[in-house]
Subunit: 348 residues, 2 copies
């Protein structure tokens, strides 16, 4: 009658004829175990099919090796890039990303944060700088580094790695005006759900106004316009109401592509009849025809910088001393560069 549960270090120790402590060491790099006994232990482990239990290890070391990361959507090439960078730069240090997605819903974000806190992550990465009040409190009280990404919050919880979405909007507006367009519209970003899209819209609007142009072609909607279909429908509606529209920025390349398809279906040529711009430097904006003018926010680099920040924080455990008030003292706010990509769709 064999034991029906997974073998433990004690089992390995028994088979290898050593103490469990030595087994523990054998599984750790740079630990003082003679090469012969280590080999004997590894053989025994192999024979038993032993796998280290990092749950138990974490309880003892008080390090779970988790980094909690929350993004708005799991189906988004840009957030995927940030996640890739985090994974690549954290896994070397034995850190495992615990991934959650909020579906652009702050209540859901709060729920995920609460669930993740039970897993005792060593750092928490969230997207954006706007959260429920309760969520902010949980994050601030977590006792671990918190990094807000993809935005530059006015008052960050702790660290931030991002860019100004409003500035992105302004840059694109300036570009369109520079190309000579006057009757300019905007699609997306007018609902709470897509905060960062809304910031881009606001920046865009600000600049359009500053240029003395009308904002009547800014599309109003009750729903977030973040899919191709939504972009297509919005563009159809906009064209119906304002057939003389000369240029439109969409809150994302994805909706911009949908918008461009609506133009094509309507028999309009891009950019001869109408110019279209997007945001996010998605694959599609670079590969469709005509290519869509966009803004690259360096999604991968956001992940890289965030990972660096985390590794730095975890290296120096000093700040654990000050239980509160970590934020104001040694919190960092990193502004990432963004790049306008002028392309055919706006007449380049």
């Amino acid at each position: 009658m064999t034991k029906n549960s997974t073998p433990t270090m004690n089992d390995v120790a028994r088979v290898a004829g050593v103490s469990s402590m030595t087994v523990s060491r054998a599984f750790k790099a740079n630990s003082s175990v003679s090469e012969t006994t280590r080999q004997r232990i590894l053989d025994a482990a192999d024979q038993l099919g032993y796998v280290l239990d990092s749950t138990a290890a974490g309880l003892s070391t008080r390090k779970t090796g988790f980094v909690a990361v929350i993004i708005p959507s799991i189906n988004n090439a840009n957030f995927a890039l940030t996640i890739s960078a985090l994974n690549e730069h954290l896994s070397n240090s034995g850190l495992q990303v615990l991934l959650g997605y909020s579906d652009y819903d702050m209540e859901e974000e709060e729920r995920i944060v609460k669930a993740f806190l039970r897993r005792r992550p060593e750092a928490i990465v969230v997207t954006g700088g706007v959260h429920t009040e309760s969520c902010r409190r949980y994050l601030a009280a977590s006792g671990v580094p918190v990094i807000e990404t993809w935005d530059l919050p006015a008052s960050p919880i702790n660290h931030a790695v991002g860019f100004s979405n409003a500035r992105a909007g302004r840059i694109m507006a300036r570009h369109l005006v520079g190309q000579g367009y006057k009757k300019i519209g905007f699609i997306g970003g007018n609902v709470e759900r897509d905060r960062r899209g809304a910031d881009r819209r606001h920046g865009f609007e600000e600049e359009v106004r500053a240029q003395g142009l009308s904002t009547e072609r800014f599309w109003e909607s009750n729903e977030a316009i973040i899919t191709m279909e939504a972009g297509r429908n919005a563009m159809s509606g906009l064209l119906e109401k304002f057939p003389d529209t000369e240029a439109v920025m969409c809150a994302s390349d994805v909706s911009a592509f949908g918008a461009m398809m609506a133009c094509h279906r309507a028999g309009l040529r891009v950019p001869e009849d109408i110019a279209i711009a997007g945001f996010g430097a998605y694959d599609i904006s670079a590969n469709c025809f005509p290519e869509i003018t966009s803004i690259d926010v360096g999604a991968y680099d956001i992940g890289v910088e965030t990972a660096k920040l985390i590794l730095m924080e975890l290296a120096g455990d000093s700040r654990k001393l000050a239980n509160n008030s970590t934020a104001t003292d040694n919190s960092r706010c990193i502004e990432m560069p963004i790049t306008l990509l002028p392309r055919l769709s706006t007449g380049e």
Copy 2:
């Protein structure tokens, strides 16, 4: 001098004036604690900012609440759908998806499996039915349900929820032939890296051959053709070599879109001059113009069925008795339906 670490159940117990055991009960639904003491405990917990430590809880209950899931790419709308379904259907039961992606690399998959096993997941979901020999062994010996998805392996490790990629290829080939096309090509799926794409190619090739048609227009490449750019380049190459090509299937909608853009750039009309088909029912194939004929594999439903299977398995803990040989007895293999979506790009 306050304690500088996170509060524990004992801290809460002390403040609430009960034993830690009662605190434990207070945090569990359906446990026998008087309403008054429960409230007192929750207040104390709130005051201290206490959060349950599920690492420690898991050590005691021997249930981590993790379900390990490995997909090839985190930047893929279809795998994202499967993940969404898993998340939605597992989180109600308190299960947390532990997500990893292999980048279409079996060695990397093996590495992730090994890392995940240390977290003691209660079930493991992998994509595809081909793994390194070592990886198969680890999965089989894990002692928890293993579900291979997106494929129907000849000899599954344990369970499987998927479809026949070869059949998908055959279906599309038959459709193109039915539309009257004779000079038919295929782009993608000719490298080991994209196993399921390769299966589709083989099925497609089989059917094209069976129809007595040539397969000389099957594009050869050293790399996986899974991006828009790769699809575009492949199509350019194909058109150069065989300008008379009448129809092409791509291993994915993503590359199909790239291929279509190559046609547009070359001044070819789709489908008048050349027909294009894809695979996967991605957003882009439905929203581009012309729409691209595709095959819907029900990515979300794969996740739903997989989640159901996991919940069933975890409900009946019986099979833990038989330590090996779980597989052959009560393993299930679920074939999911796939749907051809005939669209404009192939002359519908």
